[in-house]
């Protein structure tokens, strides 16, 4: 039985939380992700940048009533990476299946 390697971009708690959250919604604002993941703004910014660099999410910055908004959205590449990550996890959890 060959074990698939876990994607290092996704195999980190906060990045995996962000991707799992974005997978279930169309798009989400930074403060929503921060609230749901219970993370700090600084740490979340760093992890979002890493996900963006990997091409797993799209980040759009805009202003609404003088408030800056950072909107995040999962990309098709991010969806594929997440699916592969879950398959790899399953191969570890159920090696005979």
């Amino acid at each position: 039985m060959e074990f698939k390697e876990l994607d290092p971009i996704l195999h980190a708690p906060l990045r995996l939380a962000v991707i799992s959250l974005l997978l279930s919604v169309k798009e989400a604002e930074f403060t929503f992700i921060k609230e749901k993941t219970n993370s700090t703004a600084g740490n979340l910014s760093v992890q979002i940048s890493k996900l963006k660099e990997a091409g797993y999410i799209e980040v759009t910055k805009q202003f609404k009533d003088n408030y800056p908004l950072t909107i995040c959205k999962i990309t098709p590449k991010g969806v594929d990476a997440f699916e592969n990550y879950v398959k790899a996890l399953q191969s570890y959890m159920h090696p005979n299946s």
């Binding site: 195999h11 939380a17 959250l21 279930s24 169309k26 798009e27 749901k36 993941t37 908004l69």
Partner: protein, 219 residues
């Protein structure tokens, strides 16, 4: 050094985040309750009006129409000038907003067709009859049932799915009624089973979920 975690923790985290996102897709049921009670009140006031002849037949429906038009005007102004910042957008919200638009267009279509048929009947035969109005209300109940079924399915909310089939049964019965009073009573019943009961159940579940959920968010 970056924090890592076990495979079991990964799966637990994925499940937790998906559940956190699912919470955003719940409806608090307030809209169904307000809409439902407005329709029930209008139907029952119309029944009382038929008995006591306070006003012309249809007076309370005109008042109801006025309230809805005012609300629509308010909603348009709010969406144009006072749009709230949405922290999250879901595919379900997208589907439901299109469904609502389709519902209101179909609602207007049926209401206009009821009035046009009535007018043409009067023009051609110089008679006024409640048949087009009764049939129109049965069709409106049918439209409510369709909306409730899609809404309930999209939100995976079983009481609405059951409510939709009950509403259809009441709407089908309304097709065979001879008096406007009977149709109004069935209309009120359809709204109670389709909107009000599921609306209160949704509201209760929403409150429970958000009370419980506040402590479970987070990685």
């Amino acid at each position: 050094m970056e924090e890592t975690f076990s495979k079991e923790e990964s799966l637990a985290l994925i499940s937790k985040m998906i559940n956190a996102a699912k919470k955003e897709q719940k409806d608090n049921g307030i809209g169904w309750i307000i809409w439902g009670w407005l329709l029930v009140a209008t139907s029952l006031l119309t029944v009382l009006d038929i008995h006591y002849k306070w006003f012309q037949l249809g007076f309370f429906w005109n008042v109801f129409g006025g309230i809805i038009l005012l609300y629509m005007l308010f909603a348009i102004i709010r969406s144009l000038f006072f749009k709230k910042i949405e922290k999250v957008k879901t595919y379900t919200q997208d589907l439901l907003s299109k469904l609502n638009a389709g519902f209101f267009i179909s609602l207007m279509f049926i209401i206009i067709s009821m009035n046009v048929s009535n007018y043409l009947l009067y023009e051609k035969y110089a008679v006024y009859d409640v048949i087009p109005i009764n049939t129109g209300f049965a069709l409106l109940i049918n439209l409510y049932a369709f909306w409730i079924l899609i809404y309930g399915t999209a939100l995976n909310f079983r009481p609405s799915v059951i409510g939709a089939y009950c509403t259809w049964a009441v709407g089908f019965t309304a097709l065979f009624m001879k008096t406007f009073e009977q149709v109004m009573l069935l209309h009120a019943l359809a709204v109670v089973v389709g909107y009000i009961i599921p609306g209160h159940i949704a509201n209760h579940q929403f409150k429970k979920l958000h009370k419980k959920g506040n402590s479970t968010d987070g990685v």
